[in-house]
Symmetry: C2
Subunit: 411 residues, 2 copies
């Protein structure tokens, strides 16, 4: 077997050299640098004999015909955020290239094997992430809104896409790509601290979190910090402070990996001599289980109403965004767990906080799983993003094992 | 006796008509409108025969010679903030005018009686409050810094003052004005909710609060809201939230009117998808007793260090500003209490949160007291500032009674 994880690491470095600078990776989707990376990818895959195609949403596909039309998909994305890391997205693709090489060398696989480089996972230029995968999954429902989007220079999204051969009006035709899909596999860096804290190189992703995101506005009464006795205050910050602390026992109570974050509190008038009249608090709650996510939200709402009464202030909730949890496939989770244990001696099942292209594929009903490899210090979306070379090697091996197992299981 | 509190109310309305607009009072110090108010004041006082003088700091004095050179001072300020209320500062002066009229009519007083209209109490144009009174008290120590100050239009403070006949270099010569001062009286609106909440028209001020003002900076670790388990977070906002709540039991513990305010928390990066890395919290603590003020600060510091340990974050304190408490004169507090009770049937002793010219006079060692009259809804520095006419009338009567008592006591 010709699998060479070392080659993947060296190709990752080559790609960074080609498409990065002193501030990190610069493969923002719908730019020249991104196109350069995609052309470079084509050269790397060409020797395998895989057929090449770019679909209506800009996704780049490499297809090794198998004994069946039914296809095992392996995916990732070549695009990065500006000043990004050297692994996010492209590790997935380059590990897939290595697996494709091994399979091509071994002869005709039982299923067709397809490697996909999804277009614009990050949404860095137009603020719309998972562009290509949501088109292929058929879940892209914001085309009217996307037509109006502009980048920082004022260039409209449809114009930028057209420069790269993509017609927004036809993007959903990419749905045909999933018609024969039997299963979908994706390897990604964890982008969090769990595996590092457990001293484990590899993990298996149970699915992507459902998210409830709210702006919680507390309204009290501005009052002079010197002339207003403590018992005559209606302090909006007190409500926000209580909620910022209470979301933690609520997460513990609901359990099973629940996370809740208060990322900001903006105080008005926000001056040293006044009791806070208005506190605008951002709240983000996530869970892998829809019922438990609803419970997180309900408990936080109840607590906020109790705090509002205690503090004689008002509280209002406004939903900013939400998404249902997307569980991955049980059978593939088992196989991924086996693969990780065979390669690294241990595995860990964990949810994914960030969304990934895999979530879009899973929403489309395709059995899906992801492998995570340890991130150092949990950092990503920065040039400081890193993973030990030894762990990168194990991750390529694990993806290869998982591919073999999936080809057997779904044949 | 000719005391006419109704006249004071009608003169307050006349002044607002002359120097206000639809947004409120516009008597900002060192402006034409302010000069117009001061000229109008001179006309009002002229019939009493009091001698007029403007000192080196721009303070305007009206002197009724008595049997002794030693002087009882009554003070206030004609200047207002932009879009100010109809009472802040000028009630004090116009009530004083009414008392001066009554005394002038009654013949030669046992002590010389002087009414002072302090220059630039509010500091609205150059951000330097208590200008004239601090010069007279000799506590003005920032002349070098004041020379560099500019208003919003870029006009230097010394140039603006020179236009109104004041030479900054000579301002401290106004100290001579307090040489013969036996006592100082000032009536002011409360600018807080205490008297209204007690349903009392009048109160006696025990002194002005000492203030400790700090920027408390909490430093944790930014981390992805989705991928970072709750037990692996170092959340800077958690420290700030705990302190925002803890200052309240600390104020209760220290007691005696202690007030503590967290007026703002600025979160960085301040986005919904990240645990807060840095929280910059403003803290204002006030007490009338220096030892208790120090205790407030010490308890808050100790609590913050405990919270920093609990949350595995760092905390740093930076003092922004502080001032010692300035207690008023016990004997005058008694007399003021008697005067308020005689006029209104009840009185309430309370500290002043905001600073006043009276605090500067007290710092200079002159026995000092203030009377407060109820503010509706605690509002000031806005055109919504208001006090019931009936209460304004009582306040003029109380200042007159207090003046009589002080003339007897200090003769």
């Amino acid at each position: 077997m010709s699998l060479s994880p070392e080659r993947t690491v060296s190709e990752l470095r080559e790609l960074l050299e080609l498409t990065g600078d002193e501030n990190g990776a610069q493969r923002v989707a719908w730019t020249e640098t991104w196109e350069r990376a995609r052309a470079w990818l084509r050269e790397k895959v060409a020797p395998t004999g895989a057929e090449h195609e770019i679909d209506e949403a800009g996704n780049q596909w490499f297809t090794l015909r198998g004994e069946s039309e039914r296809a095992l998909l392996i995916g990732g994305h070549m695009d990065s955020v500006p000043n990004g890391g050297w692994l996010d997205g492209c590790l997935d693709v380059l590990a897939g290239v290595e697996v494709l090489r091994r399979i091509a060398e071994a002869g005709t696989p039982p299923l067709t094997v397809r490697l996909v480089d999804w277009a614009d996972e990050e949404g860095a230029r137009f603020g719309r992430s998972l562009f290509g995968s949501s088109a292929a999954a058929g879940s892209m429902r914001d085309q009217d809104e996307l037509r109006e989007r502009r980048d920082a220079e004022g260039i409209a999204l449809p114009d930028a896409l057209a420069e790269h051969g993509v017609d927004l009006d036809r993007a959903l035709e990419a749905r045909r790509q999933l018609a024969d899909a039997a299963a979908y596999l994706e390897l990604h860096i964890e982008q969090g601290p769990v595996l590092e804290s457990l001293d484990l190189p590899l993990g298996v992703v149970l699915g992507t979190f459902g998210v409830e995101r709210h702006l919680v506005t507390w309204s009290g009464q501005a009052a002079h910090a010197g002339s207003t006795p403590m018992d005559q205050r209606r302090d909006a910050l007190a409500g926000a402070a209580k909620l910022a602390l209470e979301i933690r026992p609520i997460a513990t109570e609901v359990g099973d990996g629940a996370v809740c974050t208060s990322g900001s509190v903006v105080c008005r008038p926000g001056i040293v001599t006044s009791v806070v009249e208005t506190a605008e608090q951002l709240l983000d709650q996530r869970h892998l289980d829809a019922a438990k996510l609803a419970q997180l939200l309900e408990l936080a709402r109840e607590a906020s109403e109790r705090f509002a009464r205690e503090e004689d202030v008002e509280v209002e909730w406004e939903r900013i965004w939400s998404i249902q949890p997307i569980p991955f496939d049980d059978r593939l989770i088992e196989l991924a767990d086996e693969a990780a244990r065979e390669v690294a001696g241990a595995s860990q099942r964990l949810p994914s906080g960030p969304l990934h292209d895999a979530a879009e594929v899973a929403r489309a009903g395709i059995p899906t799983v992801m492998l995570f490899v340890q991130s150092l210090r949990g950092l990503s979306h920065t040039k400081l993003e890193d993973t030990k070379e030894e762990h990168l090697g194990l991750s390529v091996q694990a993806l290869d094992r998982l591919t073999t197992k999936a080809l057997e299981a779904f044949a």
